[in-house]
Each structure stands twice: as C-alpha cells, then as structure tokens.
Symmetry: C2
C-alpha cells in the first residue's frame, strides 16, 4: 500500500477538468475532492485484485493503468485507463468487491476516492450521482464499442481505427506517437503482441510506417478504407 498524500492544487485542477467532476459546481467539486488523496504506484504494481473488498475508486492523474480479469495463466484486458479516466466508480452505487484487477503501467499517480465517504456524500449532494452517471455513460459506450469491434473487425481494422482516432493530421497526411509500449496497445485491442506486429506490417500496404513508437500515415483516406 503506497502512502497517501494531499492532492496538490495542480492535481485538484486536473481533477476538476476530468469527466467525473466536470459537470459539478465549485462546492460540489470541493466536496467530492475532499474524499480523495493522491497515491503513487511503481510500474507493475497491482492496485487491487478481482474480488477484493472495494474501499476505493480511482482517477488517473499520470501514467496508465490496465484493468483486467483472469489469473496469470490466462488474462484479458478490459480497459487501459489514461490520465483523466476514472475506474471503479461503479462501486459507489452497486457491489461489494472489485470485478477486475488493476495494475499500474509505468509510474502512475492516481487520485484515490474513499467509496464510503462518497456514498455518504450522495444524500447531501445528490448531483454527484449525476456526475458519476456521466462518467459511467462514457465508460459504457466505449466498452460497448470495444465489444462490437472485437466481434466485427479484424486486427488490421482495429489497429487502423486506433490510429485514426489518435493521430494528429496535417491535411491528408498524419502521424502520432504511441503513449505506451506496443505490447500494452496489443492487449488493449485484445491481441497478442505478435498479432499487433503483423497487423502493422499488413497496414504498410495502406501507407502506415512504423518506427519505434513513432507512426506516420501517408493518407488518412486510404487508411479509412481498411
């Protein structure tokens, strides 16, 4: 268990802009943030495991966190959380234990919210329930989209979609830098690392060139065809 620190004012500002708090007024934000502390994890640290009693939910301030199910024998990633994303907030409303495990990738700094405190806050500040609902809506939509893509698209198509969704384009040309290792991207897309590598090489014929974490796209419209 890492040590808990007070949230710095920069961290508070960042949380105020995160989806989970962005629809709240000043007072409500303060009330919600009063349930939170900052915690820091080392790469590979496990925050909690499936079925653990749930005391906290989190919002990522820095780094990345993977949510996954299964034991070391056979694991499946459910989601990769980036700065601004929250996870476990559904436990404020329902459930006793976590439904998945969480592991920090790289060094990660998180805001940790005490579930019992937030629960107690719901009566005084009922609009916080709405804020949580907004965050859950977003999660639900992206999880459904992920499920539909897994079922409908091949690996090159899923990779192409990821690239198009994350690239910054200058005209018809575009580029991006992966924010994390390829093996993590592979798991996010539900692929083995080898399959991601092969998907990239398939996409070479569609004008995608990969150089380490830097990726260049010759023509966005060609990639959209895939």
């Amino acid at each position: 268990m890492p040590r808990a620190l007070k949230l710095s004012s920069a961290q508070q500002a960042m949380l105020g802009g995160a989806l989970i708090a962005s629809s709240l007024d000043r007072h409500e934000q303060d009330a919600l943030l009063s349930c939170a502390v900052a915690v820091r994890y080392e790469p590979q640290d496990v925050l909690f495991r499936e079925h653990d009693k749930a005391r906290y939910f989190y919002c990522v301030l820095n780094g990345y966190v993977r949510l996954y199910r299964g034991s070391q024998d056979r694991e499946a990633d459910i989601s990769i959380c980036e700065p601004g994303d929250s996870f476990g907030e559904c436990l404020v409303l329902a459930g006793e234990g976590y439904n998945y495990s969480a592991q920090a990738m790289e060094h990660a700094i998180l805001a940790r919210f005490d579930i019992a405190q937030v629960k107690a806050l719901l009566d005084q500040r009922p609009r916080i329930g709405g804020a949580i609902a907004r965050s859950l809506s977003q999660h639900l939509l992206s999880t459904m989209e992920c499920l539909a893509r897994d079922r409908m698209q091949t690996s090159p198509q899923r990779v192409a979609h990821y690239l198009l969704a994350h690239c910054t384009n200058e005209g018809t040309r575009a580029s991006l830098r992966l924010p994390f290792q390829k093996s993590l991207l592979a798991r996010k897309l539900g692929l083995a690392p080898e399959a991601l590598s092969r998907a990239f090489s398939t996409l070479r014929t569609s004008g995608v060139s990969v150089c380490g974490r830097a990726i260049a796209i010759e023509d966005i419209n060609v990639l959209r065809q895939v």
Copy 2:
C-alpha cells in the same frame, strides 16, 4: 412508429421494481414514470438505428430486444435486453445520437421515456441521476464481463457459463428452458448459430442434454470444470 399508450398500473408496478427506478422513493418514481408511455413492437421491428437522433430511452416490459452495431452485411450484437432491462438511458447524460441499433425479437412491449423530459427532471429531482447511475453500473459491469469472456473463453466455456447462470438446480442436477431461439443466444454469446450448436454437442460429454429449448444438466460440478 407504434402508437403510444398510457402505462397500465401493472406496468407501472413492474417498472417500479426495475433497476432503473428501484432506488427511488414514491414521488421520484412518479415523476420519472410521468415521462414514459407504453409502446408495442412486432417481431423484427427496428426501434431505432445507430446515429439516429436520440429522443427516447426504453425499459423492456415484455419480450426481448437486441442491441447491435453494423450494417446488414456484418452485424455484431452488443446485448440482449430482457424484461426489466433498460437501454439508451446513457443518452440522458451524454450524446446526441444512438450508438447502436435496436430491434425487437418476438412481440415486445416497452416503456418509452422521453429523454428531454427526464433531462429537465434532473434538476428538480437530482436523485434520479443516481438511479440512472445504478442502472449504468450494472450495464457496465455486465458488458465488461462479456468482453472479458469473449477474449478469454472458448465457445463451450461461454455456453457452460450461460447455462450455469440461468439454470434452476435441484441438488447436483439442474435444468432450464431457453427463453428465446438458439440463434439469438448464439448472437448474445458472439457466435455463429452453427458454433453454438457445436458447443452444445461438445458439452454432451460434460452431461448436458439438449432437447429443443429444454436443457438438462446431469451434474453442475462437472459443468463448472469446463
């Protein structure tokens, strides 16, 4: 567009017990239900399509509704909604258009909620936001579970899990009756109908016997091994 009817008192009672309203007090329930009417669809009717402007969300009273993405060429089911399940409620909080299409299976009766009215209600009755959050939590958890299972388990394992989750057991023996066609179950599990059929025949060696929609399980514990 089907004609809208007032909710009968039996339907109102059913909705009061559904997840989306069950945490609300009398007045809040009445307020929420005042945004709803009953609508009836014929088998195969499409309620709405992906990207349509979202005016309503729904709660199933009778029958089944499938939520899916993609065009007729290539479709993937996201969820099969049963009586008591709601869908589209995330649009009260975020988004303009539907993110998936919805189609009635068999004859279906639904409660149809006007999104704009419910949105307006959120300020007066902020705890309704919490009620929606509870419903969304449940959806999110089940969608995540579905995603994880798709990625981790083979078809016989997913079928076995469905059976164990839905059977009524008498001692070590158990049985169930499928509430809908096998082809629908197949889509719910992300399989082609043929694959479901083959999964059942694989499970015969684990003591599962299928006779039309009636299914008998010789020994629950054997099936859990799968």
